[in-house]
């Protein structure tokens, strides 16, 4: 059963592995390259290899972080396992000048934007709330409350229009924004308000929804009675469903949507149809609410395996390539592990920093009082 069929069912049915005929796909789960009339890309061998390398490294970051959480080094981790292609495909479609607004699971996009994975671990370890410079990376801080960032992205995109940085025809200057969110957040008021605003103001924005089928234990069927991408139509802009486990299709569809945004054609909703292979977070137990058979079915659609098969079939890699990618992944994992273990706790006094741009006398008094209190322990007066 496809999700399309759910629209006429009286009883919502749990998640499906079938995305329906509207799915844009350029690479089958078996690694066969297929064409699509509206979305095609012609990448160099080097670019194909680069995308696979991204997929492998991003998965490795995720696996290492999950292990570090299990060993007590992170408080929690939100795994992206299974969503690598959706994130790398869309992340690599961005131009340098574009701006991304992520949720808390966009580790693959962060990688594409050049954010050190250690900064992500810092958030989940609890030493800070991210710590990278959003302007520098053109990648906003993770937003934990689902959907809030879609409005920020819309406002930012409105600002681009006000600055005249859209529709000039100069690809190196025109800008676009991408807002990430999930199937669960699609029910949020903020996401729907963002759809209204982006549409009304023709904002240069791509709404990128990773439909990974589950919001913790809530299946997508509890969020919608029609395929999510079709919601765009009611708001007055195009929607497209892409195979989120196909890095090439995700890249092609996102690039087209970003090009449209930059050229002044307004927003697009991209629904990347994918699957959360792991738990919602390390605190979750998916065996309580979903069937193992579903997971097995999605394993056959694995985003890395199909790209690997494609590279073999194209004969554009040799065994040395895979070995070098594996070595890079090992090196990255070791660096992350070392960096995480070395990550020091911040001073308690830093919680008073940056509450305001212009601090207040009361807050300074509180800081001083707490500082004296702490200093008392050092002097042994308590």
């Amino acid at each position: 059963m496809s999700l399309t069929d759910l629209a006429v069912e009286t009883t919502p049915v749990a998640t499906s592995t079938a995305a329906g005929p509207e799915l844009v796909q350029l690479l089958t789960p078996e690694g066969e390259r297929v064409s699509h009339p509206d979305y095609d890309i012609n990448l160099s061998d080097e670019e194909y290899r680069g995308l696979y390398r991204d997929l492998v490294l991003v998965r490795r970051i995720d696996i290492e972080a999950t292990a570090l959480q299990r060993q007590g080094e992170l408080g929690i981790w939100a795994a992206l396992l299974g969503q690598e292609a959706a994130q790398v495909g869309s992340g690599r479609a961005l131009r340098d000048q574009d701006f991304a607004f992520p949720t808390y699971r966009e580790h693959g996009v962060a990688w594409c934007r050049g954010v050190d994975p250690l900064r992500l671990l810092g958030l989940f370890r609890g030493v800070d709330n991210g710590g990278w410079d959003p302007q520098d990376k053109r990648f906003h801080l993770y937003t934990i409350v689902i959907g809030s960032q879609t409005l920020h992205a819309t406002g930012y995109a409105m600002g681009i229009s006000k600055d005249g940085a859209v529709g000039s025809g100069d690809d190196s200057k025109d800008e676009a924004v991408i807002a990430y969110f999930g199937d669960g957040a699609s029910s949020q008021g903020d996401v729907n308000e963002a759809f209204v605003w982006a549409s009304v103001y023709n904002a240069p924005l791509v709404f990128f929804c990773q439909n990974n089928q589950w919001g913790i234990s809530t299946p997508t069927a509890n969020q919608t009675r029609i395929p999510l991408y079709q919601r765009a139509r009611g708001f007055g802009f195009p929607g497209v469903r892409v195979d989120g486990n196909d890095v090439l299709a995700t890249y092609a569809v996102t690039r087209k949507a970003l090009d449209d945004a930059r050229s002044g054609q307004g927003p697009t909703l991209v629904e990347a149809f994918t699957y959360r292979m792991g738990a919602h977070t390390t605190s979750d137990d998916p065996t309580r609410y979903r069937l193992a058979t579903e997971l097995e079915a999605w394993k056959l659609k694995d985003p890395l395996e199909r790209m690997k098969a494609f590279l073999y079939k194209q004969q554009i890699v040799d065994s040395g390539y895979f070995e070098s990618v594996e070595n890079d992944a090992n090196e990255l994992a070791a660096r992350i592990r070392k960096g995480c273990l070395e990550m020091a706790d911040p001073s308690p006094m830093t919680m008073f920093d940056h509450v305001y741009d212009e601090t207040t006398p009361l807050l300074e008094q509180q800081r001083d009082a707490f500082g004296s209190y702490l200093a008392g322990f050092a002097e042994g007066s308590h």
Binding site: P134, A153, M158, V196, W197, Y356, T360, L362
Partner: protein, 324 residues
Amino acid sequence: MAQLTMAKALNEGLRKTMEDDPKVLVMGEDVGKLGGVFRVTDALQKDFGEDRVIDTPLAESGIIGTAIGLAMRGYRPVCEIQFDGFVYPAYDQIVSQLAKMHARSQGMVKMPITIRIPFGGGIGAVEHHSESPEAYFAHTAGLKVVACSNPIDAYFMIQQAVRSDDPIVFFEPKRRYWEKADVDTSITPDSLWSARVVRPGTDATLLAYGPMVKTCLDAAAAAEEDGRNLEVLDLRSLSPLDYPTVFESVRRTKRLVIVHEAPSFVGLGTEITARVQEELYYEMEAPVLRVTGFDTPYPPSRIEEEYLPDLDRVLHAVDRSLNY
């Protein structure tokens, strides 16, 4: 020097900031062609264009959420929430996003956003049009909260708020919008964060902000006929709170009556009372008293005058304080 209503003074102040800084935007429901339901943004869209004075969709979370994105892009949005009771759809964006952005980004992302909210009762309105939600925002770290009480302050405080790089919730006492004063725009205003003694006195301090400042001034004038010399203090900034000025006043008068329209329980008066007893424990001649709205939903307008602190209730509290 021109005689201006508070609404016009706010309008002139906004106009000045828009002239001075091209990044200042005004956004909200009906703020453009209509000029706002209270006409505070009257003619701004005509003079500054639809790109800078934005008639938004009717979605408060959208107003604040997109303002956050515009601020990240380098703009300086002034958002109007049409009425106090309409701010709650935006509460999540204000409290969870706007207030925390500077801290969570370690100071890398500034949020120079002003949220204007007409607040308080006394205009005979229907539900959700007469509330005093200031404590919700004063309780939230990362926000600053101010309230003007007269046209002169309105003119300067709105400009100071818009120029601040911190997010500010700016409360406007809607029932005072039409009161007039001579506004000398050439003077140097007090700091936005300072409280002000608007009537010096010796026998007790009446502490108020926004719409209740005039009520307290009227009460002090009436008390004078009975030979009582009351000081009236206009708090102006609710967060941060200018305690040195409050303490200085109460240290002299030794009696404090706090007046606000908002309900009593865990209101601004609660916090001020706690701090005053901590600072002036041995100097007070009477406990701090509060005259406030009741701990009920704002009532239907035919009985709102019973809900709102008025001259008699204020003087009743002064009697209790002086007779303690």
